[in-house]
Amino acid sequence: MDLNFLEFEQPIAELEAKIEELRLVGDDNEINIQDEITRLESKSRTLTESIFSGLKPWQISQLARHPQRPYLLDYVGRIFDEFHELHGDRTFADDHAIVGGLARIDGQPVMVIGQQKGRDTKDKLHRNFGMPRPEGYRKALRLMEMAERFQLPILTFIDTPGAYPGVGAEERGQSEAIARNLKVMSGLRTPIICTVIGEGGSGGALAIGVGDRVMMLEYSTYSVISPEGCASILWKSAEKAPLAAEAMGITSDRLKALNLIDEIIPEPLGSAHRDLETMSKNLKHSLLEGLENLRSMAIDKLLDTRYQRLMQYGQFSGE
């Protein structure tokens, strides 16, 4: 089993392995087998297209958490002309699970804020698996209020399993840190665009997710609790996570249909990590388009629209 491929991608992995094998044979014997390789490559593409056109929510949640999924810092260098990372909440610490800083996109100054996961074991620990502590949310808040003062639009990038459940995090007021961000973001006098790029895990995601435009990469997820968490509470077994993923409606298409997000950003064939350049281009395109639309709005109108949008969340009957 090829570990770069998920279980449902194994047929693709097998084809790719065959193609690789043929290439090696070709090199050894100087026999022209290019035609066969081309035929298999096209077959692989068709197979990928067919598998990816019918993905189940649980499969999508595996893609959103894929070990090779691009993280915020993978995009930063490809989307922004420059980026100056800023550190610390000025009170307690610098939380490495959230990065933020000043940047330019196509020449326009912006503030960038997002969760960051780690790639290898050491890096994962350094980033605390992308799970922020209160100081992370307070750093984000400091940068957002700074952005408001200098009239910089805010671009947030969401990618977290959730806020960190730890003793210290509770002691320093995890709840308060999240709540304050929600409150302040709802009234910040500058445009805010939020994009879920991987895992949108609950309150820890929403704490940088209140804005004028909410976008999701095609194979990212956004939910109130992880499928495993939901399954272990409601089905009394974490193994029912695929059922929970289905029931909760955590995928971009479902959330768009429910009018809970504004835009789905398409991913390249086989999902974001198969073609980072194309993914970055698509993401940059949507960010620029969003910025242009929001910049043309008067600030009071912008704030009123943001507020009305927040108020219309929810479905119920009665007066």
Partner: protein, 286 residues
């Protein structure tokens, strides 16, 4: 068996410690100190144990009725009901869970809102009903809270909320998560207009409710020994793999760490909040 019982004929012996000798509902056992208490006395005492001061959970309606002046009382947005937007089903349908919860609690959803007077001062008060799906916040709870804020804004009066909740309601998934943003945004407007919001955290106030409206009070209060936090103690224990410190996430712990302003005994709640609000509203002490 004691010597006396051995002497007794078996037909008049009773099983030791059985509760069935007492008519149901007349006596209560305090979960704090195990004292057997007369139910009527407990009710007079707002369900606070007279022996050990343990604050038992109090239903939303009793909470509101004991907190506000007897009249006038006006319930707000009482007709709102959940519509199960996701057609959610786990081992049970959400629809069935809702009707079960409605039957058990006598409420349509987990938040009750009333406008009334507190020692003559007009206020809006919201109270969570923990017996309704663990006081979880879905669309109806969020909307009722926002309606409470709207009434406060319209009439220029203070808002008080008694929280008791396990957090966001999973069965409404992202709709529930968004109620955190919705209620917090409404509070931002209230506070920008200079109207006070007093948040009272009662046992337990966790997850999405704690990480939104409950922590946003101008003044954050808690009842004694209430469990208040973001992540549940079991989740934290599994993550950090160590036993949690004594009193972790209890009101006294929160006070010590600066998250709340004070801990107030339920029986003093009316007086203290009336005092605080009259200062904010520049009114004479009630």
């Amino acid at each position: 068996m004691s010597w006396f019982e051995k002497l007794m004929p078996s037909r008049i012996r009773t099983d030791g410690g059985s509760k069935r000798a007492v008519p149901e509902g007349l006596w209560d056992k305090c979960p704090g100190c195990n004292a057997i208490l007369y139910r009527a006395e407990m009710e007079r005492n707002l369900d606070v144990c007279p022996k050990c001061n343990h604050h038992n959970r109090l239903g939303a309606r009793r909470r509101l009725e004991s907190f506000l002046d007897p009249e006038p009382l006006e319930e707000i947005a009482s007709s709102l009901e959940s519509v199960d937007p996701l057609k959610f089903k786990d081992s049970k349908k959400y629809k069935d869970r809702l009707s079960q919860a409605q039957k058990n609690s006598g409420e349509k959803d987990a938040l009750v809102v009333m406008r009334g007077q507190l020692k003559g001062l007009e206020v809006v008060v919201a109270a969570f009903e923990f017996n309704f799906m663990a006081g979880s916040m879905g669309s109806v709870v969020g909307e009722r809270f926002v309606r409470a804020v709207s009434v406060a804004l319209e009439r220029h009066i203070p808002l008080i909320c008694f929280s008791a909740s396990g957090g966001a309601r999973m069965q409404e998934s992202l709709f529930s998560l968004m109620q955190m943003a919705k209620t917090s945004a409404a509070l931002d407007r209230l506070q920008k207009r200079g109207l006070p919001f007093i948040s009272v955290m009662t046992d337990p106030t966790m997850g999405g409710v704690s990480a939104s409206l409950a922590m946003l009070g101008d003044i954050n209060l808690a009842e004694p020994n209430a469990l208040v936090g973001f992540a549940g103690p079991r989740v934290i224990e599994q993550t950090v793999r160590e036993t949690l410190p004594e009193g972790f996430q209890r009101s006294e712990f929160l006070l010590e760490h600066g998250a709340i302003d004070m801990i107030i005994d339920r029986r003093d709640m009316r007086d203290r909040i009336a005092d605080l609000l009259s200062i904010f509203m520049h009114k004479p002490r009630p």
